[in-house]
């Protein structure tokens, strides 16, 4: 028989361990941005530039850059570091996807309609995609250090982390952003990047308002 006092002790230890195994107290960043020089504030990436590094370990995750009508679709794909990205050719003609970016150089070679190739993106940073056969085709893959990024909707609203986006790509286990002080940055191929320091509370939301202008974006992470 276990004594009552021992039982109480075990209970306390269990509670302490349970609490300790939970992530730290965490909040959410929500916000909106306005842009000048863009048709719509859609598809601006807002991310934590200085923060924890998490590799996403989600076997169900599925990221893809399609090739259709002489275009890469989507034009900008954001993936957590370590993700595998598929490059199916759903066009009527062959393509040759390659990257000369410092983040990751590769060349998938020429492959025809119906075929697909894939690559794991291990290094965080910006990858610019091109097609060797069609000079007008271009796209970007943003390899993020962690899943703490958001992508703006039509109205310029975003949330970090963007659970909707991640779950839509099969990333089921999304950590929450621990409380703390962070630097938030933006990236869009036609907008000058802005950064802002924010403090994420232990619970609740922090609301962020950003104004962006036309210009050249900076690099994703400082090396």
């Amino acid at each position: 028989m276990i004594k009552k006092s021992n039982l109480a002790f075990i209970a306390v230890v269990l509670i302490v361990f349970t609490l300790a195994s939970l992530p730290a107290w965490a909040g959410t960043i929500i916000g909106s941005l306005t842009v000048k020089g863009l048709r719509s504030p859609k598809d601006v990436v807002v991310y934590i530039s200085k923060g924890p590094v998490y590799k996403v370990d989600s076997p169900e995750a599925r990221f893809a850059v399609d090739q259709k009508n002489l275009s890469f679709l989507p034009h900008v794909l954001v993936v957590p570091q370590g993700s595998t990205v598929h490059f199916p050719n759903n066009d009527k003609v062959g393509h040759n996807v390659f990257s000369l970016s410092r983040t990751q150089k590769f060349n998938l070679g020429n492959y025809g309609p119906g075929e697909s190739k894939k690559i794991v993106f291990d290094k965080p940073g910006l990858v610019e995609l091109r097609c060797d056969m069609h000079a007008e085709m271009s796209a970007y893959i943003l390899v993020m250090k962690n899943p703490f990024f958001g992508i703006t909707d039509k109205k310029g609203n975003f949330a970090i982390p963007d659970t909707g986006y991640l779950k839509g790509h099969g990333v089921t286990s999304v950590q929450e952003l621990p409380a703390g002080k962070y630097t938030v940055r933006t990236w869009h191929e036609k907008l000058k990047s802005v950064k802002k320091t924010i403090v994420v509370p232990k619970s609740g939301e922090v609301v962020l308002k950003l104004k962006l202008k036309r210009g050249t974006p900076g690099s994703l992470y400082k090396r």
């Binding site: 000048k36 020089g37 048709r39 002489l70 275009s71 679709l73 036609k190 036309r214």
Partner: protein, 642 residues
Amino acid sequence: MGKKKVILTILGLLVFAIVVPIVLNLWTEKPQTHIITLEAKKYGYSPSRIKVNKGDTIIFKPTSLDVTHGFLLDGYDLEFTIKQEGITFLKYSWEEDDGSVKIDWDKVDEIELLADRAGKFTFRCIHICGNLHPFMTGELIVLPNHQYFLAVSLSLWVLISLLLWFRYVPQKTLKNRPRIDLLKVFPWLDRLVKMRGFHFFVLLPNVIIFYLFIISSLWGSPVGNRNIAIIFVWILWWFALKAFFVPLGARLWCMICPLPAPAEWLSRRTLIGVRFLEKPFKRLHHKYLGLQWDWPKKMQNMWLQNIIFMIMISFGIILITRPVATASLFLLILGATLILALFFRRRVFCQFLCPVGGFLGNYSMASVTEIRAVDYEVCRKHKEKSCLVGSADGWGCTWNQYIGTMERNNYCGFCMECLKSCPKDNIGIFVQPFGSDKKMKGYDEMFNIIIMLVVAIAFSVTMLGPWSFIKDAANVTESGQVLNFIVYVAVLWTAALVIVPWIFIKFSGLSNRISGDQVETREIALQSSYALIPVGIFAWIAFSLPSVLVNYNYILSVLSDPLGLGWDIFGTANMAFQPFYPQWIPAIQGGLLLTGLYFGIDRGFKALEPVISDRVARAKAMIPPAVFAWVAVNVLLKLYMS
């Protein structure tokens, strides 16, 4: 019905005409989303007409089936470039902090548009895609189309109100109206037009420009909207002729027309002076070059002009888009005038052959300006008739008109020679109310008026309409659709020379019957056809206006590079295509057509006065031609606004 009652009824009808379309337009439908696969192909879109309700969302999925095309929607901030395989670039713009406006293009798969403005909006190609590029259009109709309903309702109001007015209210006659002689009001004008060199010096710049146009047509840019001859002749001149020259100055254009000038100089063997003969030769105090025949009496009418005009407009779309075709027409006319000058005296080409001269004459009857005798009694007593046969100070009328009996503008070329040759100083330039000369002299004139109306409608369908298969049929030299071209021309000729005149004569027969069979149907047909002159003038202004408002940047662009040599004289050579408030076009066209309808019915009624003196009978007789004019106006309202 007393005058007061009529006025109250007309006002009541006006309220009704305005309120009914407003009430009908309150009906709204539940918003829907329409996915439109928009195929662009030389020279049209499929679907060419898109009809939605206000509040609906349209998702365009564009693709081009041939070359790169554009899509610019009037009234909405929507512009995109369409390439093959559905590759589309959407334009957007923004204002920088320094106030400058920047633009960029986004590659997109589909384009969403919220149709939040009701009315008719034209979408047009923005990339020069071929000969008929300026006519590559489609239409978005966002219901309820209140503007169109209002225009139809007001047209009915104009028709009913005027007929009521004629029936119940005695009309003032335009006879014995006060006359304003511009030469008395402006003595400097009197001195100016009587200067011997006046005609030559106003003509000279036009002649120089004309020869530059020929050079530009033959050796300049072969692209129509990059060629100054095409832009200035078929866009600017055509509009100015209908909107300003004819209504304000009658045949003022004939005074400065460069085409017959070399022939006239050759025939007279002088540029400025007068070759005066003391002893008349064949009634004239001048001797011209060549055989000096007079134009055969049997051919002194408009039939040849009507036929030549029909031939010209059968190839209209080719003529106005190919610089070389325009140059060929100019050279053909120039050659014809020179050859005719060797055989005939006076301006026989202008008077009996010029395809433009025919309608210029008829439409000039409505003009607010006229050259007339100051005192007809002075003319009667003056035996020499110097204005007709010439004097040492001026050539006898080159149009063979005697000012002492002249009552219409039709054949007055405004050359001002009669003002110089008249020793009695008895000729003035008068201002008159719009639509004052009302005597119609023959079926040739009536047919000309009907031809002009039919061609205005036909050109509105072919050039302004969204139907590419009609453009292809008319554009035979590029499309190669010979059979369709034959059908197109056959329909045009049959409508203009058989069907519509036949309907009009039937209407005139009805007029005669309901007014008591007092006169010959021919008389009623001729006089009531006058109603179609104001309708025609305003219809042509309404037709030409979009060309100017939409293509004004091409006017500035070719001015900077008139010969297509890559010049940029005024810095406007590479102006972006940006129509001038194109969303206003349907409303302006509606207003013009309603104005034309008012003047048409009113002046048509007054033109019937000499043949039916009884007012009530005349008012009844006016019903069929007024309805005819109303139908013509409504066909155009439908084309322009709905």
